[in-house]
Amino acid sequence: MPDFSLTAEQEGLRDLARKFARTEMAPHAAECDRAGRFPEEIYRKAFELGLMNLNVPTEYGGSGLGVVDQCLIVEELAHACGGMTTSVIANCLALEPILLGGNPEQKDRYLKPFCAEYHLASFCLTEPSGGSDAGGLKTRARRDGDDYVLDGEKCFITNAPHASLYTVFATIDPELHHRGITAFVVPRSATGVTPGKDEEKMGHRASSTSTVRFDGVRVPASDRLGGEGEGFGLAMRTLDQTRTPIGALATGIAQAALDHAAAYALKRQTFGKPIAEHQAIQIKLANMAQAVHAARLLTWHAAWSIDHGAKGTLESSIAKCFASDAALHVADEAIQTFGGYGYMKEFPVEKLLRDAKLTQIYEGANEIQRTVIARELLRQYA
């Protein structure tokens, strides 16, 4: 039987994340959401406490955590603010291709200086013409002597305006489709790299998102991750590692929604008693609790599988897809529990719905997750 108890180390990590979330993030969540402010001072503090480069081994200056540990931290952070959490964990996504595809010299060269100080990195896969169809991306990488020359545009790139490092996926030949995709590490300082303006978003407004243009950017071949044409596989393996923490992020939002709804239901009176004593609200809360609990357990299971050597494609897709759908549903029900107040920006729950929505879209839209789940599932029956 699996063991669901946490180790003392894991409780320590969770307590740290909880304390940081409550004291540093939560007090600023509403203000950052309203103003669309990127609270860099909070992200710096997260870095200083070791809450940022969670997946990078300690020998390179990261925190060296497994996926279960990462999920425990991410859920706590997301309880305070989904948008801030996305920006805090964006480095994990951006650096994972280096961890998986970089040679020892590259890991030393990129990761050590990067992790030694506060830096942000961005994972550049999605393009204006499509995100789910990653095999069809259009950014070109033309070989020119010892260099490649990158031309193209990426969009919806988390932290891009503030990042000093980009992991970029480009094709050496669009005709080759996904077999032409190749990964590169590109510093922000390279000539021809231009992040666009910060996008106005529905939610995750404390996070920063923009396009990144690459205009004739010269990248030495020594900054290529893996071989030519190995980029697509690298991107997919990266997402297999980072998808599960998105399940944890969604679980954190859902738990926050449940917490707000239950506390409000005990306080708010109608027909002479707290609405928590009305069965209609009890059923709502019970269903919300089931969704949160299931989301967390699926996330933990996927994380545990990956930590125990599984590829985790199926498990992480199930966790991410279920938890993000659960987050949207639970946030929606929290608003309903609050009634008219829930619809008002002065109360905290409408933000949760807006933040939850993105978890169904990013790091692989849930339609893609279901495609993956069906493919993996049917393989077992074929």
Binding site: G12, L16, K19
Partner: protein, 257 residues
């Protein structure tokens, strides 16, 4: 500078508490114990002194039962203390401050110490007795409710202040001494993630008190009654509000004659 900081595990403010079956103590089952309040400030101050006085070491010592006491010592190590000693309270769950002070003094007598720092009182029983008792048992000066503690290297003495009801006292005292710190006049740091992981593997010394001393137990332990709801007074004019409020305070709450 050899700095010893004494800490006590206290229930986390967010933990739900209940009385134990004997009706005389707190039920520790499921209670999360933390290093909190005054002691957190004391650890912070010990670390600030260590950082400002070259060659200093901080030794954290705590008296209490397993596993909570070891947990707060690990928290102290994660924050930056160099060494930790757990004085095992074994069966003593009374929380009696004099028993605690005797047990701590037994260990303190045998370790290098220029300064013994602790919170002026624990966040749970708030007895405030241990700093004074330690001073007496160790035969060194003790001061409580201390703020603005600084080392004066020229004068080789500690300078600090004590806000008292009638004003503020300033002191300059050579080592050794015992200091009970006021809470929240420094800003306690947060342990970093790598330090938290490392603290789990740190060795923690364990001793048992030389002699189990008799201690007192309360006759009964009860949680405060749950708070009743607020009462709203409806009014149309401020004058009406004041009149109604005064009537309630006088006739129902009987605050005024």
């Amino acid at each position: 500078m050899e700095i010893v900081v004494c800490v006590k595990p206290v229930p986390d403010a967010e933990t739900r508490l209940r009385a134990a079956a004997d009706g005389k103590t707190l039920d520790a089952e499921g209670v999360k114990f933390v290093l909190a309040g005054y002691d957190e400030s004391a650890v912070e101050q010990a670390l600030l002194l260590k950082e400002s006085i070259p060659g200093s070491k901080v030794h954290a010592i705590a008296y209490g039962p397993a596993p909570r006491t070891e947990e707060v010592l690990r928290a102290a190590i994660a924050l930056g203390c160099d060494q930790a000693t757990w004085v095992d309270a074994a069966g003593d769950s009374s929380g009696d401050p004099v028993t605690a002070a005797r047990a701590l003094a037994g260990v303190l007598a045998g370790v290098p110490r220029d300064l013994v720092l602790l919170g002026k009182q624990a966040g749970d029983d708030e007895s405030g007795i241990v700093p004074a008792a330690l001073g007496q048992l160790l035969g060194v000066p003790d001061f409580s409710c201390v703020v603005d503690l600084r080392w004066d290297p020229a004068g080789t003495r500690f300078r600090f202040q004590r806000p008292v009801e009638t004003g503020v006292e300033s002191w300059a005292v050579p080592t050794p001494l015992v200091i009970g710190l006021q809470q929240a006049w420094n800003d306690p740091r947060t342990a970093k993630l790598p330090a938290i992981l490392k603290s789990r593997k740190a060795p923690i010394g364990r001793t048992t008190p030389a002699s189990a001393s008799a201690h007192s137990l309360p006759e009964k332990f009860e949680l405060p009654p749950p708070r009743t709801g607020a009462r709203l007074i409806e009014y149309k004019t401020p004058q009406e509000a004041a009149e109604k409020l005064v009537r309630v305070l006088r006739e129902e709450a009987k605050v005024f004659p």
